[in-house]
Symmetry: C2
Subunit: 241 residues, 2 copies
DNA sequence: ATAATTAACGTAAATATTACGCTTATAAAT
DNA sequence: ATTTATAAGCGTAATATTTACGTTAATTAT
């Protein structure tokens, strides 16, 4: 949800709301915005839109996402529907949550600012309208689950990234410290990382080698039925409160 | 989808379709029905309904499920939305797939027959209307994924079941032979099965002990963060074609 | 009795995970 | 120049889990 105004009481509305994740220097963030128009003027909300009669739900989500961040071709996936009859007091409105993973340096800062949107650390989110806080929780749960068996996290990192960066992303997602030696061993063993002849020195004197994700190799292994399950993520991570 | 007739071209319809799994003596089956009214009269279809303005999507699914099988309190979960603009040539209709797992001996046979519904082995499904075959594929993929880490399969077995039965269920879901000694060891190790002092002799002279699922213990372990991941299911099972 | 069949139990070998210790490269401080 | 501090990178032994497969048990039919 997060739209303009309603009219008829007897019409079924279909909307989509985007749970937009970003990863900023060790911190998992969410893009939300402060509504400048009624209803819920001044309140925080996810970014969403009604679905038009001649567009698919993902098109609608892509449309708002581009409108607000300037980004196209973003990783996005359906989360679930939010459909309780009275979730939106203004009208019967079913909303399809979609979670998106974006590379946080790529978005259009002017656009975001213009729309009153801003990045909030996941742990410091304000109250959001309607059931949007629930959507956010569900999205993190899904992100965690998906991350267990699919190297989806790469969507949140720049194209070139270091192993320590990758590790800190997983630590942010699971809210859990990981042993760096075992982490390195495990992720390299999948064989989908290409080591570059370049270092990133922004966080240490020694500098860490940059890697990129080998999409081709990944697809090849997926069709072979290889699993990317990471056992150490599975156990003992912090619950989502 | 799977409804009566449409009127306006400019209205967004919301429907739900149920992918109903059953497990019958080693074979995974699906409950579908032969439409006796237009549109698609005579064609096979999933069981579905429009969602009414004053009911949630799950209520709608529960409503049709009860209408056709007589069953209440069935395990059911949202799969995903099917929302491409032209998926239904009759109108703009978004359908939410819901998959349900039922104990195949419990349903009301007269009701099912009356509605032209019937159980088909998963591997021998006929062509279904619209995108229903895709829904079925997606549902199996989801069932497999979910089964990996949650003992969801019990929903498909009678309350009392034997270990060989449980194994054959997993073999049907993953289309893969499992070593019975290792299977037994693994599932018992979770500690959520209660051995009964009763045997089922329907499939062997020796007879196999009956077990029941310990829901309480299961919930307790889940809150403790125990995982029910079964590694041997993860690898090398048959792809869904 | 014996054979045939499914169920149940056990154990060794192969793999994978976990818990650490140690070295390396470099910039900043002395 | 040398030392120091720090993150990065590599390796290995201990532990746990999975896999492969041999054996025994209960029962009915012959």
């Amino acid at each position: 949800m997060s739209k303009d105004s309603y009219s008829s009481q007897d019409k079924m509305h279909l909307a989509t709301d985007c749970i937009i994740f970003g990863f900023d220097n060790g911190i998992l963030k969410l893009l939300i915005f402060k509504r400048s128009i009624a209803p819920y003027k001044g309140a925080f909300s996810l970014i969403g839109s009604f679905v038009k009669i001649n567009e698919s739900i993902d098109s609608a989500a892509e449309r708002v996402l581009e409108e607000i961040t300037g980004l196209k071709n973003v990783y996005m996936e359906e989360l679930k529907t939010y459909n309780s009859v009275h979730r939106d007091p203004g009208a019967r409105c079913v909303s399809v949550g979609q979670y998106a993973l974006i590379k946080i340096n790529d978005y259009d800062k002017d656009l975001v600012e213009k729309h009153n949107a801003m990045w909030y650390p996941f742990n410091e989110l304000p109250d959001l309208v309607l059931d949007h806080n629930q959507m956010v929780k569900d999205a993190l749960a899904r992100l965690r689950r998906k991350t267990r068996y699919q190297p989806i996290g790469f969507e949140l990192l720049p194209t070139k990234f270091t192993l320590p960066q990758l590790q800190s992303l997983y630590e942010a997602i699971f809210q859990k410290k990981i042993d760096s030696r075992n982490f390195r061993k495990k992720v390299l063993s999948f064989g989908v990382l290409i080591k570059l002849n370049e270092k990133d020195r922004s966080s240490s004197k020694k500098g860490a080698f940059l890697y990129k994700f080998d999409h081709e190799k990944y697809e090849e292994l997926v069709t072979k039925g290889i699993n990317f399950e990471v056992r150490s993520f599975i156990n003992n991570y912090e619950p989502i409160i």
